[in-house]
């Protein structure tokens, strides 16, 4: 991704295509396109925060920052990825104010998750039986945040590995590893749910 990385303390310079150059009919294509991603942003915010109130705050804050720093977005680059970068940074700030460090928390949970017993179901059975979206969503929500986020960005939002690495500011190898482990954890959670239920 080549769009300028938005920061919390943004310099509000107006030199972009966004608001100074509206289309002939008066429409602002930047705002129009940015708002078209609200479903994706909110869906991701819900998986990150798992609370409606927090997800709504997160999405609204993301748009506040995006519109104010529209000048920093480089025309022709990936606006959706740029918005997700803002979402991610905003989320980290929210977490910091909560006094929690998501990476440290995740490390513990991952170690425990690795000891989890494997499923006795075959993958085909699991695929057939995990018919409820609610089950899938609940299983996703049980995965540690860093892994859940990487898997979601790849498999639901379909970002490339390079875009995710840029967004999360981690090496691409880390993204690959998180997606691998996150998918496996999701599978195990689903299998466990089915075994218990």
């Amino acid at each position: 991704m080549t769009g300028g990385r938005p920061q919390d303390s943004m310099v509000f310079r107006r030199r972009s295509w966004a608001a100074d150059q509206p289309a002939a009919d008066g429409a602002d294509p930047f705002a129009q396109e940015a708002l078209s991603y609200i479903d994706s942003l909110y869906g991701t915010a819900m998986r990150l925060t798992r609370r409606v109130v927090d997800a709504e705050d997160l999405v609204q804050d993301t748009y506040v920052k995006a519109f104010r720093s529209a000048s920093q977005f480089k025309r022709g680059t990936n606006l959706k990825a740029w918005l997700f970068t803002i979402l991610h940074n905003t989320f980290l700030n929210m977490r910091r104010h909560d006094g929690r460090n998501p990476v440290d928390v995740d490390s513990d949970v991952v170690e425990r998750a690795a000891d989890m017993t494997a499923s006795q179901h075959t993958p085909e059975q699991l695929l057939t039986r995990a018919t409820l979206n609610a089950d899938l969503q609940a299983a996703l929500d049980q995965i540690p945040e860093a892994f859940r986020q990487a898997v979601w960005l790849r498999d639901v939002e379909e970002f490339s590995y390079a875009e995710i690495a840029d967004m999360l500011e981690v090496p691409i190898g880390t993204v690959m590893s998180r997606i691998s482990r996150g998918r496996r954890m999701l599978y195990e959670r689903l299998a466990k749910t089915r075994m218990v239920g």
Partner: protein, 254 residues
């Protein structure tokens, strides 16, 4: 041959079909000999396929209120950052009565493809409705005559306030000045069978005919009558019933 730890990060791109040829060969060679990683690969493929198949249904949907609040941020940011640009856009608008001009200017700056005044009015009123209808509504039914008198005294032009109506399912709650239009538009707030319903009144003829608009999950009906423009707006989805409300309003304003 790579060990399990080395292979783990390669499994995701392998499942996606994105692995480089040498990585693919390395994974193939490893899983040939390692049952654990072979199972892991299968598990990852199942998880990925499930997510792919359900991706559209997994996303929680934002409420119309959130959509409107986010959309309003574009207006606010533009107003803060580029007042000069905003003035330019305002001057480009088709001349209308003062209140309508202000409404249109906001919406045009906002620029969501609102290329005609009906859409622009509906959009701006929707944003105002989401912001204000729920929070400015009185808990009990209000007196329409008193509210109309108060409005006339404050705003300088007479307003007819349709009373509560049981057959229409309407209970009048309050009348306020619509803040985003410099107080020149009257905002009548009703409770409509448990949902807030707004009626905006502009002291000018701004539209021709009757228009139905759906914006940000809200529906609105607008028309001009006797030199005024009326916009009935609600987030409720009972479209067929709204016709009854519009009929009631048309019959009770003059």
């Amino acid at each position: 041959m790579k060990n399990c730890r080395d292979v783990e990060p390669l499994l995701a791109p392998y499942v996606d079909g994105d692995a480089a040829p040498e990585d693919r060969a390395a994974v193939d060679a490893h899983i040939e000999a390692c049952g654990c990683c072979r199972d892991d690969l299968t598990a990852q493929r199942v998880a990925r396929d499930l997510l792919h198949a359900r991706r559209e249904r997994l996303r929680d949907a934002p409420t119309p209120q959130l959509r409107a609040r986010c959309a309003a941020q574009a207006v606010r940011a533009h107003a803060q950052v580029a007042p000069a640009a905003r003035r330019t856009l305002i001057s480009r608008q088709v001349p209308l009565a003062a209140a309508a001009t202000i409404v249109l200017a906001f919406a045009a700056v906002f620029g969501l493809g609102l290329n005609n005044k009906v859409q622009a009015l509906a959009f701006q009123m929707t944003v105002d409705h989401v912001k204000c209808a729920r929070f400015n509504s009185s808990p009990a039914a209000a007196d329409p005559v008193l509210l109309a008198q108060q409005w006339s005294a404050k705003a300088g032009w007479p307003l007819t306030v349709p009373a509560s109506s049981e057959p229409a399912g309407l209970e009048l709650r309050s009348v306020r000045r619509c803040g985003v239009t410099d107080g020149r538009v009257a905002h009548l707030i009703y409770d409509w069978r448990g949902e807030p319903l707004s009626v905006y009144v502009l002291n000018s003829k701004a539209v021709a005919g009757t228009s139905h608009v759906q914006r940000l999950g809200h529906q609105s009906v607008m028309w001009s009558q006797n030199g005024r423009t009326y916009v009935v707006l609600t987030g409720a989805s009972r479209r067929e019933d709204l016709a009854g409300v519009v009929h009631y309003m048309r019959s009770n304003v003059y």
